[in-house]
Symmetry: C2
Subunit: 242 residues, 2 copies
Amino acid sequence: MSEATLTSQHAAVEPKTLVEGAYQRLRRDIIEGVHPPGEKLRVEHLKDQYEVGAGTLREALLLLVTDALVVTQGQRGFRVAPISLEDFEDITRTRILLETQALRQSITQGGEDWEAGVVAAFHRLSRAEQKLGDHDTYTQAAAEDWEKRNRSFHDALISASPSRWIRHFQNILYQQSERYRRISLFRKPVPRDVHAEHQALFDAALARDADRATSILTDHILRTLDSVRLMPPDFFAAQLKR
Amino acid sequence: MSEATLTSQHAAVEPKTLVEGAYQRLRRDIIEGVHPPGEKLRVEHLKDQYEVGAGTLREALLLLVTDALVVTQGQRGFRVAPISLEDFEDITRTRILLETQALRQSITQGGEDWEAGVVAAFHRLSRAEQKLGDHDTYTQAAAEDWEKRNRSFHDALISASPSRWIRHFQNILYQQSERYRRISLFRKPVPRDVHAEHQALFDAALARDADRATSILTDHILRTLDSVRLMPPDFFAAQLKR
DNA sequence: TCAATCTTTTTTCTCGAGATTTTTTCGTCG
DNA sequence: CGACGAAAAAATCTCGAGAAAAAAGATTGA
C-alpha cells in the first residue's frame, strides 16, 4: 500500500533518510517552542546544530512548510510560523468543523475494530491522567506521555472516518494547536477536569450517540481556547523578527 | 503583512527563485496531466527538462508535497500522486464541507468590497461562458480562460471568510479536483448548463440567502462528481507504476 | 542629527560530484 | 523452466563550494 500518500505526519516512523531525521527533530523543537514563533531559521547555523549538510537542512525546512510550521518567502530564507490569538481561534474553529464531522462518520460507520481501538486508547489515557492526578508522581515525562496518549485517543475516535483528507487536515491542525498549548500552558499541569470530559466523550461515542458526542467534542476543543485567551495581552506581540 | 504565511498556493506570483519557477511549471504540468498520476518523477531526467540543477529540482518536488500533488517515500524518490474514484469522492465531499462553511461566513460577514469582487468575477466568468457557448469561437485558449475565471469566481465568493485555514485547505482541494477534471473531461466543452448554476449561486449570494446559496453550491460541486463517475471503469486502473 | 549612498559582511540560493541505496540484469543451480 | 543470488546499472541522497542576493555597517553631505 502506498501508505505515504497522505499523512506523512507524525507517527514514530523510523527516519529512512537524513532529511526525514532532521525534519522530525526540527518539527519537535518547533512544537515544543525551542524555536519560538517568528524566529529566523538560518541554514548555516542549524546545519551544525542538527549535524547535516546545508542542502539537507533546506529540504527538511521545505518539508516543514507542508505542516505550516515554517514559512518561506522568496529570497529571504525560512522562519518559524508566527502565532496570534486570531490564528488560534481560526485553528480551533476549523478543527471543530473537521473533527466533529470525522467523529460523526466514525460513530456511524465504525466497526468492532474501531470500538476496540477507542477502548484501548481511552484506557491508556485514563492511566496517564491518573498519574497526573497524583501530584507525587507528576513529572515532565508523565506530561509528555499524557500528550501522546491524548492525541492517540483523539486519533482513535476519528480513525473510522473514511475521509483521508479530513484526517490529513485534522493532523495538521492538531499539530498546530499542540504548539499553542505547549507554548502557552508551558508545562503547567492540565488544569480543568479533563478526565471527566474524556469519559463523557468516550461514553457517547461507544453509545453511538453522534449528536451528543460531537457536542461534547466541540466544548472540549473550545475549552482549550480559554487557556490561551488567559495569556497576558502582550504575549503574542513578543515575536522575534530578526 | 506576512502574506506568505498560508496560501503559497496558486496566484500569478512572479517566481523570485529558480525553485519557485520549477515548482510552478511542475505543478501546472501535473495538473494538466503532462505528468500522469502515478508516474515516477526521476530527478536526473527532469532537471534537464526544467533546466535546473538536481538539488533545485528536488526542492521543487518537496514543495509539491505540500499540495499533495507529489508523494515521496523513504529512499525511493518521488511520484505523481495517484488518483482514484474514492479519492475524488473524498475530495468532493471535503470540499463541500469547507467551501459551504466559507461561503456562509462570507455571506454573513462580507462587506461592500466582497460584493463588488463577486459582481466583477461573475461578470468576467459570464463573458467567458458566452464565448464557450458560441461554438465558432471555441478554442483551447478560451477553455483555459474559463478555468481561470471559474476559479476566480469561486474564490471571490468565499473571499470574505475570516478563516485563513479553511481557505488554505480549500485551495489545495480545488487544485486537486482541477486535476481530476482536466484528466477526465480532457478538453471537452463544459457539458451541462453550468452558467445557470453560476447565475443562481450569484443571485443567492448577493441576496444574502446563505441556506439557498450553500445548497446550490453543494449541488454544483456534486455535479462535477458525475462527470468523473462516467469514466470507463478501468480508467483509474491505468496508472503507471514504474 | 538625520538621511542617503556606498562598502562590507552575512545569508541564501544554486550547482556538480561523490557515497548509499535501490532496482535491474544476468548467470547458475535445482 | 523457474528460482535464487550475485554483479552491474540506475537512481537517490548527501555534501561542500561558488554565485547571487539581502542585510548590516560605514561614509559622506546637508
